[in-house]
Symmetry: D3
Subunit: 243 residues, 6 copies
């Protein structure tokens, strides 16, 4: 069962924390997702996974952070990007408050690539300076899950953005935010210097799609969410047992 | 009409921004609100006002920030507090992105006292360093509106927290988050050094209520929201006309 | 009796601190005060109050800080403005040294509105991180004292600057710095967006006066100082008793 | 003629700055100066020199900064020490305001060794980032002046602290702050690692005197001040001519 | 031909930069590399690649940075770890100086995984704020090259540390730093939470070897260096052509 | 005997640290040294001294830092300058790692004037915050050694740069980096404001030489190195005995 902190009073929170619940929240992004998916796609998808995980571990579900580190898409209209330091500070402040609140640990469900490095850095600092356990869960086993459920190919290894994968999940959990009639494939040619030089994605991909969202369906979305949840639970439970 | 960025694609966002829409978002808090109101009370209330304002000015409504600067309530379980610098950085990063996105201006609807100083500082810096207009709207005319609609007295001048005022609004817009049977008045005696020494509210008020929420009703809540909206619009329109 | 650190040697300081004296200093500003009052008005006035308080509690009076946070008047010639972070750092460094010096506590007498937020933040951090007690005293009961002693009206609630109030005190304690023949009233119309948008005061008030200094007299100044001292002492004594 | 900003209104300041006056202020320290000199010795002495220089160049004399970087004496009671970053920030903020105020340049008269490095760094940054001229004047020709006027020897080359030199100047300009009956020589043995390891002076010199203040007289003090002023003027005038 | 800045005078540097040479330097680490490889392994290997690249593009070869970000191995004796911010600042300062020196661009050859994120961030900032081109080259095509030349398997995908790959290169270019008689395989079991929780490698791998260095030979080392150089040149040349 | 960490494995490092060895490294600069000496002159010279000291105290010799704080020469081509904060951070990170590694103390051999202030600040902070002993050794007794061995005069007291002194040492230890045929004297006239205003050396000295390198010989270089080593050892040994 998930306990949404949006519905808890402080005595509720205190009681549940005392019972040993950990805290969970999603970190998304406010970022272009092609001409068919909304700017909150990463927040919606990570929130959906965070809810499912919270259900299985009886966690306190804190409000998601709806903004992320989006330098590489920052030239598309609609993208809002945080500096890495800002995201680190935000997550660190929250984790410190949870530690004071006697919440045993924090699980962050990350829905956006650009957040990985700042979130990992924040979790390191919480461990090293304050000895507080913070797990940062990126979609686990994503390559296997994609290849098992999706029909299309990613445009580059491990690159899933506004594609069949993400669009399917949004069609499942927030279909009103998808304009499927505008979905179109995007298979840009990556520059040879892509991973060595700072590169704005918009410089070589005008529509902002990386893959083929036209193959997306809500059914696949539910399968993906189930698979991600199933892959997450053993990792999360190992984390909790280690506390 | 409000345009929720959660439902916009990047071409939608680009078009609406080009048409001159400004951006609006609420900043709340994750903070104790007595034994009867939930930890997201300030976020819910400021979001409700932000939506109403956005409706009247055809603005882009960005996702609310559900965490705030809550030092003075940080000893109550459930409160999560950001450092002022973190909130400044967060708002500044968003505003800079909006400026790059050619959004004309930003309106922040603040729902929490502790956020005032960092939000004002962020708006100053956007003006001074980047010449970008940011308005920070605290509930305008709150003293008059309270005295016209509410029956109870505040425990100190200008101090409204988990009281008839806030509880009424939440009863109106998010009644499932209120546990009215647990509502109880709170009229603590403020220490004489209150405004001169850093003071945790929990040191002199164990239940976290400041006023009398037992007088709250959803009807009053709707009246309050209407009055706040009505008081906000002239200020906001003056701001927009000045752009 | 006040002990001015400007006249103490280090063995004197050590002995007085051991006897339990707290430290006191004023924080002023280097800021426009109309065509009749000097740029150090806030420093002079807060220093006068600090001296009177020190006299009554046998404190060590440290040198005043003659610069403050003056963003809103920074477009008038002669105003020098510190960043809030600078003032926080300055006060924090001093407080840390006092703590090492075994001085029991620090009382800051603030004479300028813009300093409030940074000074309060500094006092919070000293409490939270170092458990060192710092009180920041803004002129207490100022609304009552103004209305009891002064004839004029403030141009906005709680707004006293280069007016009857301040000018009277300077006429009392530093009359050579006042050019009364240049005093003129200033009752500007505040923009409706004043408290929501960062606003330079010079944008709507060319002379820098907020109220009516022509009503000022040295007699009123002495009365004001007496009243401020009288209002301060119980707060300060409660603080000292709590140490 | 010196223009003390403590006595200027903003229209005065504007007029004098327009006439080309530069700004001057002293930076001192709140630091032990033996059992006979007061904690503000460095501020008093640098202020005295700043006044004389201002007299000769018709400058605006801003209030002195009465605190400095005093790490090495921070273990003596009564010493208050700023972090170097704090002093840099303070001076930089003031210089930036002066630049906005159209004051042509800033001259800082430094009275304390520990301030040198932060003040020079601040002046570099003003030059490099903002192209604003800031001169930092340490007592020029001090070795020659000392040897010409004083009888005693310094305990180490270039080391003058609470000695015949400083005490003489204070006897001249602020005799009420000196307790000559407590003056005693201090010729500690400097550890061989002194300049290579961070060393608190109190570790090898309990009284805090470095030299022989018993030889101090007010007459020497006036001679020293005259000599320092005479040595300063050509440097300062060269600076002003270069603007 | 490589131009080692260690052997250039400033007029040499000026002339070569004017001729269009870019700058190159390696970033290594001071980090455990098992019981057989020295603590500078990453510096030596990245330096070897940087030299070969410089030879082919006629670049100025600056001194390598022999320290890196090594949090995850920081519990092994001998590891020295920089904070990410430190490495970012260091690289940014160098790049800014090169820009002032009119050097067209900077190529950083990175030899250590932990440096990737800070180096990429530094290159982003140089691009965004100063429009200065900085390429960060991690060993390109490393998976293919490893599988073509080496016999052993990595302990986890993409994880090469103190193994056949690195040891071979060091045996080729700095054989006196290898104690092959102490080489032993290391195939630790990675915890399931490895990529989600901050994890010290020493917690699950006491010898610090990740793979099988006993298969290493100098011959393989030369082949690896050739292959890495061959894979690097097209990327680097594309970068240079884009300037 | 010196232990070069470039040749040590982590078990070697652990063993030697346990035996009580301290760590030593040089800090140089990447800076113009006239038309005849290379840009790494300060690194080469300080490294030479660091090696000799390490030999006599059986220390672990870490890799030198080949970049330094070079603001004043930053307008000459080829100079690369670190911000003081960067150098402080770099040295502090290394020192913290050494403390974790149970290395008893750190000795830094500094070869460049601009590094003095940041290195001293770093050593202060390690002492004060972490109680870790760091010695910063500037060339000891340099005035005496220069006058005893060299024939030329310095252009200003204590100013040795690309002159007989430095050139001799480089001729001794790295003769291939010197182009003696280009050596020429440099005796610029220092501006009267030199020590009071931030001044680029290139503004009054086009060739970057300060003294007369034409008098340099390798023989003098060896004598200088011997003398510097001899002057260093008693200071270093006193430091080690104090641990």
């Amino acid at each position: 069962m998930r306990y949404k902190s949006q519905e808890l009073t402080w005595p509720d929170f205190e009681r549940i924390a005392k019972d040993g619940a950990i805290a969970v929240f999603a970190v998304g992004a406010h970022e272009e997702h092609g001409p068919h998916c909304c700017l909150q796609t990463d927040t919606i998808m990570s929130q959906a996974l965070a809810e499912r995980i919270a259900d299985q571990i009886d966690a306190i579900l804190l409000p998601a952070i709806p903004y992320g580190e989006c330098w590489s898409t920052s030239k598309y209209p609609g993208t809002i990007s945080l500096q890495p330091e800002t995201l680190i500070a935000l997550v660190t402040d929250i984790a410190k408050s949870l530690q004071k609140n006697l919440v045993r640990a924090l699980l962050i469900v990350n829905g956006h690539f650009g957040n990985q490095s700042p979130l990992f850095l924040a979790s390191r600092r919480m461990k090293e300076m304050l000895d507080y356990p913070v797990m940062v869960l990126d979609y686990p086993d994503i390559d296997r899950i994609f290849s098992e459920i999706c029909e299309s190919k990613p445009p580059a290894p491990g690159f899933y953005h506004a594609d069949e994968f993400e669009t399917s999940v949004i069609l499942a959990v927030a279909p009103h935010t998808v304009q499927m009639e505008k979905a179109e494939p995007g298979y840009p040619i990556f520059p040879i210097t892509y991973s060595a030089c700072p590169t704005f994605l918009s410089d070589f991909n005008p529509n902002g799609v990386f893959g083929d969202p036209t193959k997306a369906t809500a059914e696949k979305g539910w399968l993906i969410l189930d698979a991600l949840t199933e892959a997450s639970i053993p990792i999360v439970k190992t984390f909790i047992e280690s506390l």
